[in-house]
Amino acid sequence: MSTEVPDLQAIADRIVAQAAPGEQIEAYVSRGGETAIRIYEGEVEHFVSAQSEGVGIRVIREGRTGFAYAGTLEEAALAEVLRDARDNVEFGTVDEWAGLAAPDGVAQVAQEFWDDELAAWPTDGKIDVAKDLERRTLAADRRVRTEETNYDDGWGETAVATTTGIRESGRGNSCFVSVVTLADDGDETQTGFGFSVGDSPRDFDLDRAAREGADRATRLLGATKPASRRTTVVLDPYVTAQFVGVLSSALSGEQVAKGRSIFRERLGERVAAGCLTLVDDPTNPRAYTKTDIDGEGLAARRNVLIEDGVLRGFVHSSYSARRLATRSTGNATRGGYAGGPGTGCLAMQVRPGSRTQAELVATVGDGVLVQEVSGLHSGVNPVSGDFSTGASGLVIAGGALGAPIREFTIASTLQKMLLDVAEVGCDVDWLPMRAAGLSLVIHDVTLSGV
């Protein structure tokens, strides 16, 4: 992204220029704004308009690391943050692998992150688009109410500089609309949601968001709790994206180096069914989490992680790469100015197969279409691989979709589920998540219900 934001770049450069001999400094400076509009029953319930900025400074000296941040770019605060980060160095343990990233010659893949039309979109238009989504959702089905309809947009500018020669700055903006739905039938209420993402509001597909919001809530009306059994599941694209996202930590070079990955010491081995190929590719312009640089300022790149079922690689930041005597794959993650970089996947995608979800359902014959999962954070352990999640969806009987079911769990282990993948669908959906979605058929999971 080079140096598109000169004033932030200048702040970062100025901090780094203060490095003492033998001291490594990284400055991460950012600024951003958001608009959040919530519509309820045709009126604006809230309108949030806000800007924020901040700086995070990492100092490394003799193998020890210190960090500090502040939610301001005032001159006095910058000096205090640098002082705190330097002071914090004293309390770290010497780590022979500690260090900053250095330019590695890998070229960035040019992409568009900024949309002038969104930046100029009038406020009234943003309110109108959310009101429009609420109207369309209510019109989609008479059993449907809305709990909230939201328009959200945000813009951000970031600059990073290091004593090792990294200097990058850039900016981006994006927007989305979403609706949370309720469907009633007597005493029973079920919930759903719909959303649409775009570079600007012109990209929104409001009809699809409204229809999905209405469908998700109404299709569960009358759902029953199924009997416990072993079964085949078809994961809806939205569920697959969450399932794939869980694998991010197991594929992190840092977790591998620290002995916390189910894939440790398994490079080159079969870890999944032959139909499964998984890549991390933030250079794909369709990925929601696309980026041209990683959290340390290195070029983002395409990395093959699992190829035809065989484990081919892990993702690395400069730290995990040094520990495992390899090169960074451009996979430093960063949550903003308030924290240092981590290591993880940036934009995961399973290679699509050739058949639609309907064709997969017909082939499965008897099983369950899982349309939603809950409690992934509480029932999935990426270290042990134990997998158990709440679920709802539709029964698959005789190769067709049948009655809705809810309040059950599906369970297996991550290791076994990867080997039990029977087929991958062709229905790629670029969801606003770290992984793209598509339908996935997995054999032999345990369904727990009545």
Binding site: S49, S374, T409
Partner: protein, 474 residues
């Protein structure tokens, strides 16, 4: 002359400036304006793989300004606490609330109100970082000493000192200082069957004196024991069965099964399975559920909520009958009733909404051992993980991170992790035994609408007659 605000709060924003900013917020005719000022300093330190990886110092300082006109809330925030910065934010919030009308408005604030719940003896920012880092080294050593199977330990220390000042156009002026200190440890054990994890944490709304009262080595050993025990665990069963939940392990059950559903914002939109049920029996008569922000030193304890209202003790369910919901300013105003001290927000950049504080179930009369003895076959959960709820349908899940089989009235073999799933109102009715051994659980962070706030939970040992266990074994 305006009343004097004592040193801590007046250093944030002066009394007369607050009055002018509130008046500006209402200048376009809005009925209500509010300024929330926050100044937070935090320190955290992380140890992993035997090394103190990083000590972090943080400073978050700013103000959020809320303007309410009709049913519309406008909100803006700024990190610029000068009068100019605050007035600009007030203009932005008023414009966002976009109402007509107008005119000159005067706001007069009363004296600052304080309702401290805790006494902090050792302010965390007055304790040397070396002592904080040393805790991590002690935790690491203690965990590794438990068993040769322990292959990895990660530990985290965190403290924060947050001063808040809330002023609104009704004349409320309130200040609070909220101090939190936390230590957590996560352990990996490796055996023939793969790896297992153990976790434990301690946290209080006090300062560094926490570690005088609490044994950090014991915390580390508990996490290590949990991981080692699970190495020999068998897969959890699958299906509906009696579940005994140990005291202090799983207030999260109530947090998810009914806590969120009793938040007035969700109730008001008809998005709670408990809507319209006040006065009705919604739980077993054994259950009395309380949310109490005044519970000294507990993780969810606050002097005032983030709308300046004093925290209080609210009985939500009494002997199985729903008595009240939890309320914030907006929802209470709409219903013409009093707030309940549950208006909370993550920080100055966030709007307040209805949130829990410390949520717990009071003691029953059964003993722990009787409850286990009375259960022929089931699951005993010693430690719960997080959870998630769909408040409209009432369906919720929560994870079990340490659990055992109960066979013939005895706790037997350890089980691997999994989720449990149930429906809130049904599960509350299925509670058939309630113990006399009340204990609070681990410090928690509750997420709602993208905002995290610290909460506590607690409960005595109890039994749910039938709950679905999401394991893989027959």
């Amino acid at each position: 002359m305006p009343p004097t605000i004592s040193a801590d709060a007046s250093s944030l924003v002066a009394h007369d400036v607050l009055e002018r900013v509130l008046a500006r917020g209402r200048a376009t005719g809005a009925a209500f304006a509010e300024v929330y000022v926050e100044d937070k300093r935090s320190t955290s330190a992380g140890l992993d793989d035997g090394k103190v990886e990083q000590v972090t110092s943080g400073r978050d300082r700013g103000a959020g300004i809320r303007v309410v006109a009709g049913d519309t809330t406008g909100f803006a925030h700024t990190s610029d606490l000068t009068e100019r910065g605050l007035l600009a934010a007030a203009d932005a919030a008023a414009a966002a609330a976009a109402c007509g009308g107008g005119g000159v408005v005067q706001v007069t604030l009363g004296a600052v109100r304080r309702h401290p719940v805790n006494t902090v003896r050792l302010m965390p920012d007055e304790v040397g970082k070396a002592r904080k880092v040393d805790l991590l080294r002690r935790v690491d050593a203690a965990a590794r000493a438990v068993h040769g199977a322990i292959v990895q330990v990660s530990a985290g220390y965190g403290d924060s000192r947050k001063r808040i000042l809330v002023a609104n156009s009704d004349g409320v002026l309130a200040a609070d200082e909220q101090v939190r200190t936390l230590l957590r440890v996560s352990v990996v054990a490796s055996g023939d069957g793969g790896m297992q994890t153990g976790y434990d944490s301690m946290g209080r709304t006090i300062g560094f004196e926490l570690f005088e009262a609490e044994d950090v080595e014991a915390l580390a050993r508990r996490a290590a024991d949990q991981a080692v025990t699970k190495l020999s665990a068998r897969p959890a069963p699958s299906g509906s069965m009696p579940v005994v939940i140990k005291c202090g392990s799983g207030g999260v059950l109530f947090h998810e099964a009914c806590g969120h559903g009793l938040e007035a914002d969700l109730v008001g939109k008809g998005a709670s399975v408990y809507r319209g049920k006040v006065g009705e029996t919604v739980a077993s008569p054994l259950v009395t559920l309380v949310d109490d922000g005044t519970m000294k030193t507990e993780w969810g304890a606050i002097g005032i909520d983030d709308e300046g209202h004093p925290s209080q003790r609210n009985v939500l369910i009494s002997d199985g009958v729903l008595t009240d919901y939890m309320w914030d300013y907006l929802r209470a105003r709409k219903e013409g009733r009093a707030q309940s001290g549950n208006g909370r927000r993550q920080g100055y950049a966030h709007l307040p909404m209805v949130r829990m504080t410390n949520t717990f179930v009071l003691n029953g009369t059964a003993t722990h051992d009787d409850i286990v003895r009375d259960t022929q076959r089931g699951v005993y959960v010693a430690k719960l993980g997080g959870g998630q709820v769909d408040t409209a349908s009432g369906d919720f899940v929560f994870g079990m991170t340490e659990a055992y089989l109960i066979e013939g009235g005895r706790i037997t073999e350890p089980l691997r992790e999994g989720n449990l799933i149930g429906n809130g109102p049904q599960v509350l009715r299925e509670i058939d035994l309630l113990g006399d051994d009340f204990a609070m659980g681990n410090p928690g962070t509750c997420g709602k609408d993208g905002q995290g706030v610290p909460v506590g939970d607690g409960q005595p040992t109890l039994r749910v007659r039938a709950l679905t266990v999401g394991g893989t074994a027959a």
